[in-house]
Amino acid sequence: MAIAHPFLYEKPGTVKQALQLLAQHGAGARVLAGGTDLVGQLVDGLVRPEIVVDLKGVPDLQEIRMEKDVIHIGALATFTDIMESPLIRKKLPVMAEMTEWVASRGVRNRGTMVGNICSAVPCCDSGPILLVYGGKVLVKSARGQRAVPIAQWFTGPRRTVLAPGELVLGVRVPDPGKHGGAFVKMRRYKGEDLAQASVTALLLAGNQWRIAFGSVAPTPIAGKRVEKLLHGKRLTPALVEEAVALTDQETAPITDIRSTREYRAHMLRVMMRRALEAAASRKAGRGPAYGTELI
C-alpha cells in the first residue's frame, strides 16, 4: 500500500510560481491541498502525475474572509477551519452544518472544500451547499482569471470544467442575508459515511427558495422544479406535499454499494419534507438548532 509511481514534488511559495509549474507540466501536474483524496488516488495508482504541486507553501490561501458582500473561502481552508469559523457560522450556517458531517475529524482536519469540489464525486457534500448559496469558483491560470458559477462547475462524476494549467484559488459566496436552511444527509451510520443521498433547502428573503440534491445524479444538482413551485409563496402543509411529489422528477438515484435506488427515492421524499420545514422554521427563528440531525 505504498505509492508505486514516482513523481516530482514541488511546494511553491506564491500563486505565480504554482501557475508556472502547472503551465509547464499541463495535464501531468496534480495540485495537492489536503491530500485526503489525492494521496488515496496516488496509492491506488488511479492518477500518475509527473509532478505534485503542494499549495500549502502559498500564504493566504487558507483564509476565510469577508470582502464587501462576498464570503471568500480559500483553497486551503479545511472543513475544520470552515466549521470553526465564526464568520461561516454566522453568515452561512447551512455550510457549517454540512461540515460537521463530512467524514471524520481526522479527515476534516486535512481535507478542503475546494478539494472536495475538484474531486467532484457525485456524493461531495460541498456541491449542494454551494449550489444553494450561489457560490462561484475562482479559477486562475497563466492566461487570466475567471469565476465559474458552481452550477456550471460539475460536468460529470469526477469531472469539472477545470482545465490543465488552471488553479482554483477559492470559492466565493454572496452574503445571502437573513435566511434559513437545512442540510439533510442520509448515511448508513453516524460518524463518517459518505452520503447515500442529501437534500439541501435554503429559504431567502421574499420566499425565494434554493434546493439542491447530492448523491442522486451524476453530479450535485439543483432542484429547479421545486424552486419554481415554491417561489414567492408561504410554505403551507399542502405546498410541502406538492414539493415532495416533485422530488422523483428532480432526481435520478441509482442502486450502488451504499443503497438501492428505491430506498434513495423513498428517503428523498422524507428528507425533502423535513428540509423544507426546518428551513422555514429556522428562518422564523424557531426550529431545531443547526447541526441537529433531521433523519
Binding site: A2, F7, K11, G40, R105, N109
Partner: protein
C-alpha cells in the same frame, strides 16, 4: 528530497522520496510503531498521528508534507508511564486487540485539548472516525468521560450556548 520535522519532541532530518507516505517513514524509518496500517484509505483511523495538535491520517499524508511540522504519536503521552486517559482506559478494560488504541487515544487527546468538558455526543463524534472491531465503544466512551473535566454548568446553562 530533504525534510525535517519534530516527532514526539525529537527533531529529525531525513532524506525521503516524494512518493513516501508519512506512516511508512514514521514506522519503518523511525521505528515508531504505534500508528497502524489499517484500511489505507483514511476510513479506519488506525494510522492517526497528531500534526500540530490536530489528528490526521498518516496513510493519506506524504512524508514531504510533514516538512517543518510538529508530529506526535501516542508514545509522547506516556513518558512518565500511562497518563490519566490511558489509565482510565486500562481501568475500564476498554480495548481488546489494541490495534485501534493509539488512534482512539490520539483522537480523544485532541478532543480534550480543544474541549475539556465534552458532552457524550462530542466524545462519540470525536472518535467516530476510529473504528474498533472488538469492544463496541462503550467502555472507551466511559473512559474518556472519566477523565473529561465535569461540564462547567448543568443543562440549563448550556441550552442557550452557541454550538
Amino acid at each position: 528530497m530533504k525534510i525535517q520535522f519534530t516527532l514526539n519532541g525529537t527533531p529529525h532530518d531525513l532524506e525521503v522520496e516524494p512518493s513516501d507516505l508519512l506512516i511508512d517513514v514514521v514506522r519503518d524509518r523511525l521505528g515508531i510503531k504505534s500508528p497502524k496500517r489499517g484500511c489505507g484509505k483514511g476510513d479506519c483511523g488506525a494510522c492517526t498521528v497528531l500534526m500540530n495538535g490536530r489528528s490526521i491520517r498518516s496513510c493519506l499524508v506524504l512524508a514531504a508534507e510533514a516538512d517543518g511540522q510538529d508530529l506526535a504519536t501516542v508514545e509522547s503521552l506516556s513518558a512518565n508511564g500511562p497518563n490519566d486517559l490511558q489509565q482510565a482506559l486500562i481501568r475500564r478494560n476498554a480495548f481488546q486487540c489494541g490495534y485501534c488504541a493509539p488512534g482512539v487515544i490520539l483522537a480523544a487527546t485532541e478532543l480534550l485539548a480543544r474541549q475539556p468538558h465534552p458532552s457524550e455526543e462530542e466524545i462519540r463524534e470525536a472518535i467516530a472516525g476510529n473504528l474498533c472491531r472488538c469492544t463496541g465503544y462503550e467502555a472507551i466512551i466511559d473512559a474518556v468521560r472519566d477523565v473529561a473535566k465535569p461540564t462547567r454548568k448543568p443543562a440549563r446553562a448550556r441550552k442557550g450556548a452557541k454550538r
